[in-house]
């Protein structure tokens, strides 16, 4: 059953991405100011949204683990964090390549770049912490606490440098601006890609969560075997 869900999600994501990729590359025009490079936005922005959504879901799952003690919540939180981290890195790397062409630098200490980097560092620390603890419930408790601290920190970083010197373009999506900053056809393509990436991230999370469950099973079997 779970296999089918994973395959279904991946297939849906692949179909959407393929059709949308054709539209992005061949139907939609170049950006008037930036030329073809602007097409990175179709992966750059959806990846960021996917990553932040994932980190938020991880926060909720961590709080759920602490209040209920359910190991499922813990393995889901770990999986969602790891997958989101991949998308966060994807966002940083594509952004860096884009910046190299448009701003002439690979990196600048701008509000959005900094908060994404802090995000990556914190959640990489989360994964390191999980590797450093063997005992499953202790690992779950401590990493859940770190996840909550980490999310609070990302919010503070975000708020604290909002007024700071910013190179990064202001929001262009109409949910933030009320419309008029981006061609509706381009914006639609971006949302469709977002949907595909979220589906894909969900599939990866399910696979990863199953690995966590398998690792726990191995662990408990080992303990059981050692008890005799």
């Amino acid at each position: 059953m779970r296999e089918k869900i994973v395959y279904g999600l991946v297939a849906a994501a692949a179909i959407i991405l393929a059709i949308n990729f054709y539209r992005i590359m061949l139907v939609l025009p170049d950006d008037a100011m930036q030329g073809p490079i602007y097409r990175i936005i179709y992966f750059h922005v959806p990846a960021a949204i996917t990553a932040f959504t994932g980190f938020f879901v991880a926060l909720v799952l961590s709080a759920w683990y602490l209040s209920s003690g359910k190991m499922t919540a813990d393995s889901l939180a770990a999986s969602v964090t790891e997958v989101s981290l991949v998308f966060a890195v994807l966002n940083l790397v594509t952004g860096s390549i884009w910046a190299h062409v448009i701003w002439g630098v690979w990196w600048t200490w701008d509000a959005r770049l900094t908060s994404m980097l802090v995000c990556v560092l914190i959640y990489a620390g989360y994964l390191m912490l999980r590797q450093a603890i063997d005992e499953p419930t202790r690992r779950a408790r401590l990493s859940a606490a770190l996840s909550i601290f980490g999310f609070a920190d990302v919010v503070i970083v975000w708020k604290s440098i909002e007024w700071f010197r910013t190179n990064h373009p202001q929001p262009v999506l109409s949910v933030r601006t009320g419309g008029g900053h981006m061609d509706p056809r381009m914006e639609a393509a971006l949302y469709i890609n977002l949907l595909a990436l979220v589906l894909f991230a969900a599939a990866l999370t399910i696979v990863r969560a199953r690995q966590e469950a398998a690792a726990r099973e191995i662990d408990s079997l080992r303990r059981y075997a050692n008890a005799y």
Binding site: G125, M128, A132, R138, A145, F149, V157
Partner: protein, 260 residues
């Protein structure tokens, strides 16, 4: 405390705990008034500080470390140059953050020998008070180191740092508290880990980034003899928000972090 599964208030203090703690007046720990958590935290802090003043473990190591780094930097960059002006805040706060990590590493690890940590957790001191007390003690130690570093900094870098004493003190206390509460929580979190000395800095430095940014910005302004203006108040607000949010989270999460 939504996360607590067991009420710790019902647990009687075992008679062994006060001995382990080694403070001169053990009954202080078993306070039962409405200010009990704060009193307990103060008792833990008092005990930590008196141990520290006797052994001077953290003070010596972190203080020496801070001075050596300041000295090295004054060799690496020419301190008379304009650059010293711009580097001052960043240099000082990086030194404090590094020195702080040395202090926090000791904070909970100090309780590991003789199972003191288990005894403390079994006593009537709540986990939140324990973390708060550890943070109070480290903030005391860190402030001493900061004051010492400022003197050394003034000499090596030929700078008058005392022109706005009140503002500087406020910035230092607020920022140090933020560093120490995060340090205390994650000191507790990493206390039983292998690679403890590595994990602690890897986790806390990214978390401390907004706080350090604000502290560096404000310290730079104050050391450049400028009055704090409207835009600096925004950085001050970052310090305040960081302190409040992280202190609250620390109190909330102390129990699941410390108690099995």
């Amino acid at each position: 405390m939504p996360f607590s599964k067991t009420s710790r208030k019902t647990v009687e203090a075992p008679s062994a705990a006060p001995n382990v703690i080694g403070s001169s007046s053990p009954p202080r720990l078993v306070a039962s008034t409405s200010f009990a958590p704060v009193k307990q935290a103060l008792a833990v802090a008092r005990k930590d500080l008196s141990v520290e003043l006797r052994t001077k473990e953290s003070l010596n190591s972190a203080g020496a470390f801070a001075i050596v780094i300041l000295l090295l930097f004054s060799f690496a960059f020419d301190p008379d140059a304009e650059m010293a002006q711009e580097l001052a805040g960043g240099l000082l706060w990086l030194v404090f953050a590094f020195a702080g990590a040395l202090v926090f590493n000791r904070g909970f690890a100090r309780e590991l020998p003789n199972e003191c940590l288990d005894a403390l957790l079994a006593s009537s001191v709540s986990s939140a008070s324990l973390v708060l007390g550890k943070a109070l003690a480290s903030v005391g130690i860190l402030l001493i180191i900061e004051l010492l570093s400022l003197f050394v900094f003034g000499i090596f870098y030929n700078k008058q740092w005392w022109t706005h004493p009140a503002e500087l003190a406020a910035v230092f206390v607020l920022a140090s508290w933020g560093i120490c509460i995060v340090g205390a929580v994650f000191g507790a979190l990493t206390v039983n880990l292998r690679l403890r000395e590595l994990m602690l800095p890897v986790i806390i430095y990214p978390l401390l980034l907004p706080l350090l940014m604000a502290a560096i910005e404000l310290t730079n302004r104050l050391l450049a003899n400028q009055k704090l203006g409207e835009s600096d108040w925004l950085w001050g607000r970052v310090l305040l928000v960081f302190d409040v949010v992280f202190t609250a989270l620390a109190m909330l999460l102390a129990e699941p972090i410390l108690v099995n």
